[in-house]
């Protein structure tokens, strides 16, 4: 039986899984942070973490006698030949990294070039979610239905399956939703993100946006629970999402609850744009923020329902990701195995 490693290289962590040709996991999946520091990761940290994940999977989960196949997903914009064109949530030195060359050199004795597939990260998750919803057990979508996969973590990734194929656009740069301004006023007067565009959704609906909201409210709200835990406002980062949600959920921190709700409304606004543009049948929501906070997801969905045209949302169904944080890695293993018809 054929096997493949699926790897999801994110800004904060690298995730990996081994699947067999039937899509069944083999051994344990892995999730390693790219850096233990609060800053974005450097190129060397990202590549070293990726190799560590692949090596661990090879050692413990991948059958040694089988042909090596790797599907690799990269956060950011990636050229068709596997070079990082732009990646907002990592250090500048990461841009230009040639993943294809790097991996083929490193595994030169094991990896045949045709068995290495490299794509934008969100494509892997979309492959996995589409396959999941197409499966007879789920039966949610037909082969010609429209599915959108929205992933919210450090950045925002959106994948679309239309007319049975992944939407790539003219140059493989479609659905850059994280870098669309949330509003006309934000476009004129908002903060810039890593791109020249001001007021992007990434600054309003991601883990770093939630952390910034809480930091900005530090003096204004003067919450004891935050001060006791973090001591200094600048110590609150995107890595503290779980802690902030626990404080919000328990009712200890009203500011944290406000932050998740505020970010959820902005995600809802983004969903309205997607609904009016694509008139989809299925919308899957996943990623670290969605998985951490039900309030964030519920607020977004409710906002989208209230502010979208009825004909556009009629028969639209919202789902949570079927595979959580491993969706993208899982999808890339399927891509490497050739187990998808939508690419």
């Amino acid at each position: 039986m054929d096997y493949a490693i699926g790897i999801d290289v994110g800004g904060s962590s690298v995730k990996g899984i081994v699947l067999d040709a039937k899509g069944v996991p083999h051994g344990k999946s892995i999730n390693k942070p790219t850096t233990n520091e609060s800053r974005d990761a450097h190129k060397d940290e990202i590549t070293a973490t990726t190799l560590a994940v692949i090596n661990e999977l090879l050692q413990h989960s991948y059958p040694s006698h089988e042909t090596l196949r790797i599907g690799l997903g990269i956060a950011g914009i990636v050229s068709p030949d596997g070079i990082v064109v732009a990646a907002a949530n990592s250090q500048d030195d990461y841009q230009g990294t040639n993943w294809r060359k790097f991996l083929l050199e490193h595994y030169s004795t094991k990896l045949n070039p045709q068995n290495l597939k490299i794509e934008r990260d969100v494509i892997g998750g979309t492959v996995a979610e589409w396959q999941n919803h197409l499966d007879k057990s789920h039966g949610v979508v037909g082969s010609q239905d429209v599915l959108l996969n929205v992933v919210v973590g450090t950045g925002i990734g959106v994948g679309a399956v239309i007319n049975g194929k992944i939407l790539r656009g003219a140059d493989n740069f479609s659905l850059e939703m994280g870098h669309i301004p949330v509003s006309y006023d934000a476009a004129k007067n908002g903060d810039p993100c890593a791109t020249p565009i001001k007021g992007c959704f990434e600054l309003y609906a991601t883990n770093k946006a939630i952390a910034k909201y809480v930091r900005d409210a530090w003096d204004r709200k003067n919450e004891d629970v935050l001060k006791r835990h973090f001591r200094d406002r600048d110590r609150i980062t995107k890595h503290d999402l779980g802690t902030l949600w626990k404080m919000a959920e328990s009712g200890e921190s009203a500011v944290s609850r406000e932050a998740f709700s505020w970010a959820g409304e902005h995600l809802g606004l983004l969903l309205v744009t997607l609904i009016h543009t694509f008139n989809p049948r299925v919308m899957v929501l996943g990623g670290g923020v969605v998985e951490t906070s039900p309030l964030f997801k519920d607020t977004a969905v409710e906002f989208a329902k209230q502010h979208s045209l009825e004909p556009c949302r009629r028969s639209l169904q919202f789902y949570s990701s079927g595979f959580g944080g491993m969706a993208s890695a899982r999808g890339f293993a399927l891509v490497a195995l050739g187990q998808t018809s939508i690419l």
């Binding site: 239905d145 744009t273 045209l309």
Partner: protein, 350 residues
Amino acid sequence: MSFVVGLSSGLQSVSGILLKIDNGKFEQVGQVSEFMTPARREDINDQTARLQLCLNQLLAVNDIDVSQILAIGVSHPSQVDSKSGKIIFNAALNLRDFDLVNAFRLRLEHSKQPSIPSFLIRDVSAMALAERELGAGKGKDFENLIYVYVDFSIGSAFILNNGLYEGHRSVAGEFGNLIVRPRGEEGNSGLRGVVEAYSSRTAIAREIYRNARRLGILDFITGIANINEDNAAERMSIDLLKTAWKQEKVVGQIFDDAAEVLGLGVANLIQLLNPQAIIFGGELIEGIDTFRDNVINLAENNSLRANIEGVQFEKASLTPNAESFGGAVFAGRHALAMNAKAPKRHSTIT
């Protein structure tokens, strides 16, 4: 030799075009036929009668026998479901989930004509198809194309992955209802802060009228009978709007503001769909070059470099007959696919 007919089922007029199909390519035959009588409000029998008159005139003028017609495509404003051939909702005709294709078939039943497959398509989708095949995009093989319509209303249609994209229920492309100013002005749909509420001809003309009254600069609208805030767009011609722009600084400012919102909306579409080209259609954006240039400039400034590089901006070339052309192309493509034994999803005219 085969022909296809495109009929534009507008509320002010009905028009039709005959296209010849040769090796999968379309070519216009004769002139556009048009009936200028406005539809009677809430009277669908009147609407199908106008379509029938237009079809018969088209056949008579071009001396074509009905047996030579491969398919008929009817384009219609408002929300339509091209998969079922139904109008989802049309406020002016008071229609909801109405099977226009079937109603047309019933009207023609008495003529004892041979069966002709017929199809319904949203007007803006028809415009996109027409411009791609026969208009501004002809010969350029755009696989990913956005058509942006800007006049009394604002809409869009997409060619994605080399095919017309209409969404799950054929209501994709609601560009006029993208929210760009949350809690802002209310648009026709009732949603607040949408592109159409700032950048349509209706919104611009209303704003000009309000400012003209407020500032007492009424020279350019003096002589327009019974003009008021609600009918300002219908009463102000494109030439008058151009004149007003030259005469009054405030009118230029209103157009600039409208271009800013529209440019941002177009940038959002570019980020979303990464197209090869954008074609602008509609009397307002085709007729006022400076307005269109400003929109393009603002769209470029609000897009990521990777997305905007290589995007071609074009002005539509088939207005005001693009709907008829597009209806014919849509019907022709479906009929050819059916002949190639694709699954049948159509009604027929007996």
